[in-house]
């Protein structure tokens, strides 16, 4: 009997027991689809976090007051000293000042630093306009360099300038979410209008380019205004929230960090062992974030592996039961002239067909599910997950299809026929 004939017999075996075949394929399908989707969720989350951080630029550093320890969640646990500085009590000197920021812009002492921007970020600023009011998630008072460092651009109107800073101009750039909260008109119509920030009128001069949301956080719910005006009217002249620093390139970030630390150590009379400030590079944030998303991917992968295993056990179960059930059929086939090889080849092809059809259906379903956006990010299919899931399903299907069939085929026909 040739292979085409064996294939035809196997196909008949698959179609003759539709419920059994469907159940077997369902086990494979669910296992394969689960692995593909869960790994894609982990992958997508990791890709989304990474790209959000990468949009900050790979050559930026952030100086914050207080000491952070890299052991905590996200590696950014702020100590009590930092909290103290942040609340900006009037009785003690500020930790980070605009003078610190000026000092970092020294091209001689900080050769690898190309831009420096002092930042205050008062919390809970309420913007109101024509009866509408909105608590803005992020308000940033800074200089024009900040836009370069953070890769921000305006989609309409103009950016803030050095002369705005010098003249303490009360101008503001708003994100699209702020614009939408204040007015139902298109964002551009706000340009030239005065909005109240905690009661002080600021003129909208530009709309920030949309960044999209990263997870639950809306990156467009924010405003940027000149540092001087924000300090005048909103935050007061306390501590800076941070200083944003740009290195000349991604390769000089580490050198720039050393230069920044040296300058600030001199100014603050601190030593590397006991500092009142911390310098974080975007690379270190990226690696902290990657380690979290990496853990997430592994966890989801483990869950997926368990579901694949359960699917595999289902396949084993059905294969074992059906071959046992079909031992009589094997006996009949042997009695009318099938030899051992012909029986094994038929069951091999049957098991392959079930596993391959179930696996392909699982890949299709997994790929379809991965088109759905979950929590605002795109799922990313890992080709390896597809390969491993399919390979495992195929291996389980083949082994548990063939092994019992091989045993049944080795029986003397009379024993197979008598099998109940």
């Amino acid at each position: 009997m040739n292979l085409v004939e064996s294939f035809r017999f196997a196909w008949r075996g698959v179609t003759a027991n539709k419920a059994r075949s469907a159940l077997t394929m369902l086990g494979v399908l669910i296992g394969v689809a689960a692995v593909i989707v869960l790994v894609a969720v982990g992958n997508g989350a990791s890709r989304s976090v990474t790209s959000t951080l990468a949009s900050l630029g790979t050559n930026t550093l952030t100086v914050t007051p207080g000491v952070t320890k890299s052991s905590g969640l996200l590696g950014l646990h702020r100590t009590a000293a930092g909290e103290d500085a942040n609340t900006g009590t009037q009785t003690r000197a500020a930790v980070l000042t605009s003078e610190d920021a000026h000092a970092l812009a020294d091209p001689r002492l900080a050769a690898d630093v190309t831009a420096v921007a002092p930042v205050v970020s008062p919390a809970g600023v309420v913007a109101s306009y024509a009866g509408a009011s909105h608590e803005v998630a992020s308000t940033i008072g800074t200089t024009s360099e900040y836009l370069t460092i953070s890769n921000d651009q305006v989609s309409a109107g103009r950016a803030i300038t050095a002369s705005d800073e010098q003249s303490h101009a009360r101008v503001v750039l708003v994100g699209t979410s702020v614009a939408a909260a204040l007015s139902t008109e298109p964002p551009e119509t706000l340009i030239g209008q005065d909005i109240q920030l905690d009661g002080t009128p600021f003129t909208v001069v530009g709309i920030l380019v949309e960044k999209g949301s990263a997870g639950a956080r809306d990156s467009d719910d924010r405003m940027i205004a000149p540092l001087s005006a924000v300090q005048d009217r909103i935050s007061g002249y306390g501590d800076l929230s941070s200083i944003a620093v740009q290195a000349s390139s991604a390769d000089t970030v580490v050198d720039a960090q050393t230069q920044v630390e040296t300058i600030l150590d001199q100014r603050h009379r601190t030593t590397p062992q006991a500092r009142d400030f911390t310098v974080v590079t975007s690379a270190s944030m990226l690696s902290a974030a990657s380690s979290i998303t990496g853990t997430l991917t592994i966890m989801l992968g483990a869950i997926a592996a368990i579901s694949l295993l359960v699917g595999g056990i289902g396949v084993m179960n059905i294969m074992l039961v059906t071959v046992t059930e079909r031992t009589r059929e094997i006996g009949v086939r042997k009695a009318i002239g099938a030899d051992r090889t012909e029986i094994i080849v038929q069951f091999l092809i049957e098991a392959t067909l079930l596993s391959v059809i179930g696996g392909v259906a699982g890949i299709t379903l997994g790929a379809l599910l991965c088109q759905v956006r979950i929590a605002g990010f795109q799922l990313v299919i890992d080709p390896w997950s597809v390969l491993i899931a399919f390979g495992f399903a195929l291996a389980v299907g083949l082994f548990f299809g063939i092994y019992p069939a091989t045993r049944a085929a080795a029986l003397r026909p009379i024993d197979a026929l008598r099998h109940e």
Partner: protein, 246 residues
């Protein structure tokens, strides 16, 4: 006779080990069946007739003694060659039909030819011819669930004869059938005997044995009596009567 015997058994034994005791299911049988003969093997249960049938059909191997099937010593053959012998030289009819479930009558009958490597078109043609011979030309596409017991047994007879085997073996072929279906099956067997086929039928019913040209009675693994009811070259004893009735 010039052509070799279809079956030639010499001092055949089959001994099972059952716990501590030995069961001598077949205990020293020597037998010769010539081409064209129609033999009924009778006996009570436990007489060894089923074991005989399994050995004759190459489904089981004897403990000792030789078995020549159509001149070939079956004891010398490996699994593959035995499969070929079962496929080409023996046609089986079982008590419980043993058709492949959820598969049409035509496909069941084609099965031995498929294992023999007969091309599809010829296979189909021969299977249809065999089913027509047993009177089921109108039910080619019925599965066993859609056929009565008598019809299923006729499908299994068609499956047994489609490969033109030298020996047709039937194990209690009427054991699961009503009297009407029994008559139909026995009629078919008579017809096959008239065509010159060699039949060996295992049965415990006298009605079945009455159709055979030769009746062997077994007891405790031995042949107790050997009665000839008609000559090998003659038609089977019931042929004329049934022929007249039909």
């Amino acid at each position: 006779m010039s052509c070799p015997a279809v079956i030639e058994l010499t001092d055949l034994h089959k001994i099972y080990q059952q716990g501590d005791s030995e069961v001598r299911a077949v205990d020293g049988v020597s037998l010769r069946v010539d081409p064209g003969d129609y033999v009924a093997i009778m006996g009570a249960s436990g007489s060894g007739k089923s074991t005989m049938m399994n050995i004759l059909g190459c489904l089981d191997e004897p403990t000792s003694g030789t078995f020549l099937l159509d001149g070939v010593n079956v004891g010398d053959l490996d699994d593959r060659a035995l499969a070929r012998i079962r496929n080409r030289n023996v046609g089986f009819v079982f008590q419980h039909f043993n058709l492949i479930a959820r598969t049409s009558a035509l496909e069941n009958v084609e099965l031995p030819l498929a294992y023999a490597g007969v091309p599809r078109a010829e296979r189909r043609q021969r299977a249809i011819a065999a089913l027509t011979q047993v009177g089921l030309a109108a039910r080619l596409d019925h599965t066993s669930a859609q056929l009565s017991g008598g019809q299923q047994q006729r499908v299994s007879i068609a499956r047994a004869i489609v490969g033109e085997p030298v020996l047709l073996l039937a194990d209690e072929p009427t054991g699961a059938l009503d009297s009407h279906s029994t008559a139909e099956v026995l009629d078919l067997f008579d017809g096959l005997a008239v065509e010159g086929r060699t039949l060996v039928v295992i049965t415990h019913e006298d009605e079945v044995a009455a159709h055979a040209k030769r009746v062997l009675r077994m007891r405790d693994g031995r042949i107790e009596s050997d009665t000839r009811q008609a000559a090998v070259t003659d038609p089977p004893p019931c042929w004329n009567r049934l022929g007249a009735a039909g």
